[in-house]
């Protein structure tokens, strides 16, 4: 049995979570989370850590070039963050664009999308 102490990174409350693994590295118990997202985070973190990526891409508007904030709609594997940034850097959009619009579908992983986080008319 091993225990791992984690800090949940899903929200700024930063709950401290303890995960106990049995000898076959399977999760025995998870304690210390305040909400279920924390539990999911902890389970993922000890097996395959994922992160939400946020960045910006240029958007052409009537008033010229602006920066559109973007994010992935789900966590992507932590080790693919830099690969993901290459795709982000090659992305540009034109207004109108709205919060939640899918800019790149199947981003890094099938079913994960890169979405817009602001409206530009």
């Amino acid at each position: 049995m091993t225990t791992k102490e984690l800090t949940c990174v899903v929200c700024p409350a930063g709950c401290r979570i303890t995960v106990t693994l049995n000898d076959a590295s399977a999760i025995e118990s998870i304690e210390g989370y305040t909400c279920l997202r924390g539990k999911t985070y902890a389970a993922n973190e000890v097996t395959h850590p994922v992160r939400t990526l946020t960045s910006t891409v240029p958007v052409m508007t009537a008033e010229g070039k602006k920066m559109l904030p973007v994010r992935t709609n789900a966590g992507i594997p932590r080790e693919s963050l830099f690969e993901a940034m290459k795709i982000v850097r090659a992305t540009a959009v034109k207004a109108p664009v709205h919060t939640g619009d899918i800019l790149v579908a199947d981003f890094i992983e099938p079913g994960t999308n890169l979405i817009a986080c602001k409206d530009f008319e």
């Binding site: 990174v9 899903v10 929200c11 939400t52 946020t54 910006t56 920066m67 994010r71 986080c117």
Partner: protein, 432 residues
């Protein structure tokens, strides 16, 4: 002279939440005016593009622009007037607000209630003491955040960050993902002022070293930063640099993330009492300041690390302002002062104004140091415990809160207590 019932200064998350709450409490939207000096509402969150906002409010992990976008939409749905490019110049304690805007020119209005929601700005003072040249390439972390996320250009390629505040940590990740090399984050204190989650996902994820008890002792370079010298500091000797520990980092950029200070020039101008610890107004549980009818909420009151709490606090202020205007606020029977005991740096509110039928009051506070295994207690001067909780860890970077239940406040009212104490007790485990 125009009359407005409720003037809200600042259209960030605090100002917008307060406006929405005031309408939901029965105030007519046209009786409200939100004044925002920027060209769009949303406040500082417009440049905070990282995720983690709104989990408590919306049950979703949003970015800053999405979070403020929700509030902008709520304000629009309710038809609340927001005047952008409107800079408030002065305020008096009898609620006379003077502002300028291209649409209205120089304008003075008298309001029945005013909500201060001007937010905070970055401290730069920590940098002024650093010897060396004054080349370009030294920015506050928030300024770099604006350059990258709003203007769309990178301020540098090889970066050292002084101060481990959240914005600095967030920028360490952002610049790394954008291809810059972040060499180190130096923190003069033996602990970080940032959230644990940001240390994990902004530094640890990328192998960026956090050098605790270290500071920048010299900036090198003539026109542009060429490097900085970092040294360990002596905790026992007034955090003075320890000779022989100097390390040189060749870099083109130094970011400063040395804290935020509430923006209270207007508050001071109105002669409102400020709290020495928070640098914000001293308030009661409705966030009413020492000037009747003037409320404060959000980062102008005290620096929050969770915008969800900003919205909650703003709701309280918005509802209270509406109640004052609509004349349905419960009369105050007696005031009780909150004091800080061992391990507590400040509390908000600092005063509870009790009505005949008290309601639950949530107290926000910060601890003075990093502690392990503590009990946080709110008690009367006579030692009667009103609420307490045990925590496995507490740190100054993370705001704590405790809610005093209405039933306990009724006891306080009956007992005649004039002071309530918030304190921390170490319950074993080493202080680290």
């Amino acid at each position: 002279m125009a009359a407005h019932k409720l003037i809200i200064i600042g259209g960030g998350p605090a100002g917008l939440s307060a406006a929405v709450a005031a309408v939901d409490a029965g105030l007519a939207p046209e009786d409200i005016l939100v004044l925002e000096r920027d060209s769009e509402p949303g406040g500082i969150l417009n440049q905070c593009i990282h995720a983690g906002f709104g989990l408590h409010r919306f049950g979703e992990e949003l970015t800053g622009p999405e979070y403020s976008g929700r509030y902008i939409a709520m304000a629009r749905e309710r038809g609340i007037p927001i005047l952008c490019n409107a800079m408030v110049l002065s305020l008096t304690d009898d609620r006379r607000v003077t502002f300028v805007s291209p649409e209205t020119g120089y304008t003075t209005v008298d309001a029945e209630a005013v909500i201060l929601a001007m937010g905070c700005r970055e401290r730069t003072r920590g940098a002024l003491g650093i010897p060396g040249t004054r080349p370009s390439g030294v920015y506050t972390a928030g300024c770099a955040q604006r350059y990258i996320n709003i203007e769309g250009y990178m301020p540098g390629r090889r970066v050292v960050i002084l101060g481990s505040g959240d914005i600095g940590l967030i920028m360490a990740r952002r610049m790394t993902l954008e291809g810059a090399k972040v060499l180190a984050v130096c923190e003069i204190m033996p602990y970080s002022g940032g959230l644990a989650r940001n240390i994990v996902q902004c530094l640890d994820d990328f192998g960026i070293p956090l050098k605790l008890s270290h500071t920048v002792v010299q900036i090198h370079g003539r026109d542009r930063v060429e490097g900085v010298t970092v040294a360990a500091v002596d905790e026992a000797n007034g955090r003075r640099p320890i000779p022989g520990t100097e390390e040189y980092f060749a870099c083109d950029t130094l970011l400063l993330s040395v804290g935020l200070i509430p923006e209270n020039e207007l508050t001071r101008g109105a002669g409102i009492t400020l709290d020495r610890m928070t640098n914000g107004a001293s308030v009661n549980q409705f966030r009413e300041t020492s000037a009747p009818g003037i409320y404060a909420c959000g980062n102008v009151l005290h620096v929050h690390d969770l915008v969800d709490y900003v919205s909650e606090e703003a709701d309280t202020a918005g509802r209270a302002a509406a109640a004052r205007i609509l004349g349905n606020a419960a009369p105050v029977v007696r005031s009780v002062k909150l004091t800080t005991g061992h391990g507590i740096r400040y509390t908000v509110p600092e005063r509870i104004d009790l009505a005949e039928e008290p309601e639950d009051v949530r107290i926000f506070f910060r601890v003075t140091d990093v502690f392990k295994k503590v009990r946080l207690t709110v008690e009367t001067a006579a030692g009667a415990i009103l609420v307490n909780k045990a925590k496995s860890a507490a740190a100054p970077g993370e705001m704590e809160s405790l809610t005093i239940p209405a039933a306990k406040l009724r006891e306080v009212l009956a007992s005649g207590t004039e002071e309530i104490l918030v304190k921390l007790t170490e319950t074993g485990g080493d202080k680290s």
